[in-house]
C-alpha cells in the first residue's frame, strides 16, 4: 500500500519544513488530490500564516484532541486552492499537550477523508518530533546543503528508521547554483551520497518563496517561479511519476541579471 500520511521533518530548525508542507500540500491539491496539512509545531504556529489562512482559524489541533470540537470544525478549507485543508497548531499550548497515540488516532481519522496528509514537524528530536512521526506512514526529510543541516538530517533518518517507518525520502532545499558552480556548496549528488536515501526533490534558493509567504499565497499558484515548478514535480513524484529534477539556474549571475533587466523593460 502506498504511503499517504507523510511527516515533513528535519532535525535542524529553519531549513524549510513548513515551507515544504505548505507548497507541496498546495501542489498536490492543485493536481486534484484531497490534501490535509497538519501543523504539529504546537506553540509555534506557522503553517497558517505561510498559507495565508491565519484569519480563518476557529479551533486547533489541541481542541480536537481534547474533544472540545469535532475534527471537521477545526479543519480550515483553503478557498483558493480547492482540495486543501489546514489543521492549525495551538498557539497557546506546548508540545506536551499532544501525545504520540493521540496524533496517531488523529492521522487515522484524516486518512479516511483525504488522499494525502502532510504533518509539519517541529525541529528537534524530542517529544514534538515523536508525536509528529507517530501517525505517519513514512517521512520526508528536508535539509539544506549545509554541514549542520546534513548532519542533523542524518540523525533524524536514523530515528525514523529506528521507529520502523522505512527509509525516508529527501528534499534538498535552498540550493544555490552560483555557490555550487564555484565549489562552495554541496551539490545534490554529494548530499545524496552522504545521506544514502532516495532523493525526492531539490528546491532552489528562490525569492519567490519569500514573497509567497509574505503574501500568504502558495508559490505553486504562480506558474512562473522555479521553486513552484520544483514543488509541482515533487507532487508528481509522490504520485509515482518519473519526472526529471529541475535544472538549477544561477539567476543572480551577471548575464541573467542583464537578461531579466532587458526582459522586464
Amino acid at each position: 500500500m502506498a504511503s499517504k500520511v507523510f511527516v515533513i521533518t528535519s532535525g535542524k530548525g529553519g531549513v524549510g519544513k513548513t515551507t515544504t508542507t505548505a507548497h507541496l500540500g498546495a501542489a498536490l491539491a492543485l493536481s486534484g488530490k484531497k490534501v490535509a496539512v497538519i501543523d504539529a509545531d504546537i506553540g509555534l504556529r506557522n503553517l497558517d500564516i505561510v498559507l495565508g489562512l491565519e484569519n480563518r482559524i476557529v479551533y486547533d489541533l489541541v481542541n480536537v484532541i481534547e474533544g472540545a470540537c469535532k475534527l471537521s470544525q477545526a479543519l480550515v478549507r483553503d478557498k483558493r486552492v480547492e482540495g486543501l485543508s489546514l489543521l492549525p497548531a495551538s498557539q497557546s499550548r506546548t508540545k506536551e499537550a499532544v501525545q504520540p497515540e493521540q496524533m496517531k488516532a488523529l492521522c487515522d481519522e484524516l486518512r479516511e477523508q483525504f488522499d494525502y496528509v502532510l504533518v509539519d514537524s517541529p525541529a528537534g528530536i524530542e517529544g514534538g518530533f515523536r508525536s509528529a512521526l507517530a501517525g505517519a506512514d513514512s517521512a520526508i526529510v528536508v535539509t539544506t546543503p549545509h554541514v549542520a543541516a546534513v548532519r542533523d538530517a542524518d540523525r533524524i533518518i536514523g530515528l525514523v528508521e529506528a521507529a520502523e517507518k522505512g527509509s525516508p525520502q529527501l528534499i534538498i532545499n535552498r540550493m544555490d547554483m552560483n555557490l555550487i558552480k564555484k565549489g562552495e556548496m554541496l551539490d545534490q549528488e554529494d548530499v545524496v551520497e552522504i545521506l544514502a536515501i532516495r532523493l525526492l526533490g531539490i528546491i532552489p534558493e528562490d525569492s519567490a518563496i519569500v514573497s509567497a509567504s509574505n503574501k500568504g499565497e502558495p508559490v505553486v499558484m504562480n506558474g512562473k517561479s522555479l521553486s513552484g515548478e520544483a514543488y509541482r514535480r515533487i507532487a508528481r513524484r509522490l504520485e509515482g511519476e518519473d519526472v526529471p529534477f529541475i535544472e538549477l539556474s544561477s539567476d543572480s549571475g551577471f548575464f541573467n541579471r542583464l537578461k531579466s533587466m532587458i526582459s522586464s523593460n
Binding site: 554541514v147 540523525r155 536514523g158 528508521e161 565549489g183 562552495e184 554541496l186 554529494d190 544514502a196
Partner: protein, 80 residues
C-alpha cells in the same frame, strides 16, 4: 588554467570529507576518543597471540550506504 583552480581545495570538498567522517562516528555512536581506546585494547589482545607491525596497521570506521563497519588492517610479523 584548470590546474590553477584545482590546486586549491574547494570548501565543498572539505564539507563532504568532514561530514562523511563525523557521520560515521555519529551512526556508530563512537567518538574519536572511544575509538582510540578501542584500538589500544584491541592491540593488547592481539599482541598476546601474534607479533604485529604497529607502524603499518590501520583501524578505522568505514561505511557503505547507512551501515558502519569497524575495519582493521593489522600486518602480522610472526607468531609468538
Amino acid at each position: 588554467m584548470a590546474w590553477f583552480f584545482n590546486s586549491k581545495k574547494t570548501s565543498k570538498e572539505s564539507a563532504k570529507k568532514r561530514l562523511q567522517l563525523v557521520l560515521m562516528h555519529d551512526r556508530a555512536s563512537i567518538n574519536p576518543q572511544l575509538l582510540d581506546k578501542l584500538k589500544e585494547e584491541l592491540l593488547q589482545v592481539i599482541e598476546k597471540y601474534v607479533e604485529i607491525d604497529t607502524s603499518g596497521m590501520e583501524i578505522s570506521l568505514d561505511g557503505d550506504k547507512r551501515t558502519v563497519a569497524l575495519v582493521a588492517n593489522i600486518p602480522i610479523k610472526g607468531t609468538r
